[in-house]
Amino acid sequence: MADNLHLKVITPLALIIDEQVELVEGPGELGEFGILPGHVPFVTTLSPGFLKYKQGSDTKSLLIHGGLAEVSDDNVRVLTDSTEDPSTIDTSAAKEDIYKLEKQIEESQGNAKKLKELDHQLKIAQARASVK
């Protein structure tokens, strides 16, 4: 059994992370999950939130906009539409976004497709706002 996981985070526009890590924690659609080396094959859809990964004593995190994660043979692949570096996020703008989006959600009740999209945007904004 290998001691490391090979983590790849890929978006349509770039390969964001391609590194050896010891632990990956991610925002699954049904709740947080953690992956250590030797994990059984695993597929999950992701919610917008923070992907955390540990390298030695360092723990880094990355905001991902939902997507899909797959674990097999100690390879972790995360496919997401977009990522953001938490250090560059403007939390006050995110709080305003939350307010606007909640209003829009109220206005577009009944339009399932639009609601799904707005809900996704809202989750991203909430994740942004939660950065300290």
Binding site: K8, L15, L30, P41, T44, T45, L68, S72, R77, L79
Partner: protein, 291 residues
């Protein structure tokens, strides 16, 4: 033999054409660079997505989700056709159309067993004049609006597939191999066809449950493949146009060279004739004077 004036007019007209073609070549080169770098980043993402979908679909019974349905008999085949809006790009469109027609003849498909969607005017114009019925059609695809186009094509393809109106979805496009070679590709998108090696191996743990994941990722997969096809096609189009215009510029240079030669020859011939006239004239005068 044409007059000097005629040749001159011709030379300047060819020079004008050459200028346009060499400008088109430069534009195509810039566009190619942009779309090629986009494609380069998009390929790993779309390939990884495809691998995961294949892995998931390969390990489960096609009955668990309508999108994995394998029709017993293919009654209606849906082609999504990617060509360019404009010409002057070598065999980019004609090659694709010819291949498609051969494909239909080989599979002995009637026109009413085929439904077609188009990205790009050239393919649509050809097929509508050939008597096919035209489904969705989008023109003016570029690096900015391709996601929107892919989105519309995806929802209509998935809807029709789930209703059973079509039994197969095939993408027809030019795959970008390099600036010099593009490969005509028929990619079967639905039903998802899994290679044997992907059916083996341990099954995944799914979270949420498998049916719900498949319902999420298969439409997204279709969308990503269509986005990929548009990108491949755009990049190939720019490459193809660049090569075609490069060749055209070289040819124009040859023509200009030949015409200039002809111009010089004609001018020389005229001078010679005039000289002969003068010499003859003087000779005649001399002889007249002697008399």
């Amino acid at each position: 033999m044409p007059s000097l004036k005629q040749i001159n007019t011709k030379i300047s007209s060819v020079k004008g054409t050459r200028r346009i073609m060499s400008a088109m070549k430069l534009i195509a080169a810039v566009k190619l660079q942009r779309s090629q770098s986009m494609l380069k980043e998009f390929r790993p993402y779309s390939d990884a997505y495809k691998e995961i979908v294949m892995g998931v679909a390969g390990k489960c019974d096609p009955k668990v989700h309508p999108l994995l349905r394998k029709p017993a008999e293919v009654k209606k085949r849906h082609f999504v056709f990617f060509t360019s809006d404009r010409g002057l790009c070598g065999s980019f469109n004609t090659g694709l159309i010819r291949n498609f027609e051969n494909h239909l003849t080989e599979a002995s498909f009637d026109k009413d067993q085929v439904s077609l969607s188009f990205v790009g005017r050239r393919g649509k114009d050809h097929c509508s004049s050939a008597g096919f019925s035209i489904g969705d059609y989008f023109s003016g695809a570029n690096e900015k609006n391709y996601i929107e186009i892919a989105n519309k094509l995806t929802s209509s393809a998935i809807e029709q597939f789930q209703k059973g109106e079509i039994d197969e979805v095939v993408l027809v496009y030019n795959y970008f191999k390099s600036a010099l070679t593009q490969e005509i590709t028929f990619e079967k998108l639905l039903p998802i066809e899994v290679k044997d090696e992907e059916t083996s191996g341990t099954d995944y743990i799914y979270e949420p449950k498998r049916e719900s994941i498949i319902g999420d990722i298969v439409p997204k997969y279709v969308q990503i493949r269509i986005e990929r096809a548009i990108q491949e096609s755009l990049t190939s189009e720019h490459a193809s146009r660049m090569t075609a215009m490069e060749n055209a510029t070289t040819n124009a240079d040859d023509v200009i060279k030949k015409l200039t030669l002809l111009f010089n020859k004609t001018r020389q011939a005229m001078i010679t004739t005039e000289l002969m006239d003068i010499v003859n004239g003087t000779e005649a005068q001399k002889q007249g004077g002697n008399d």
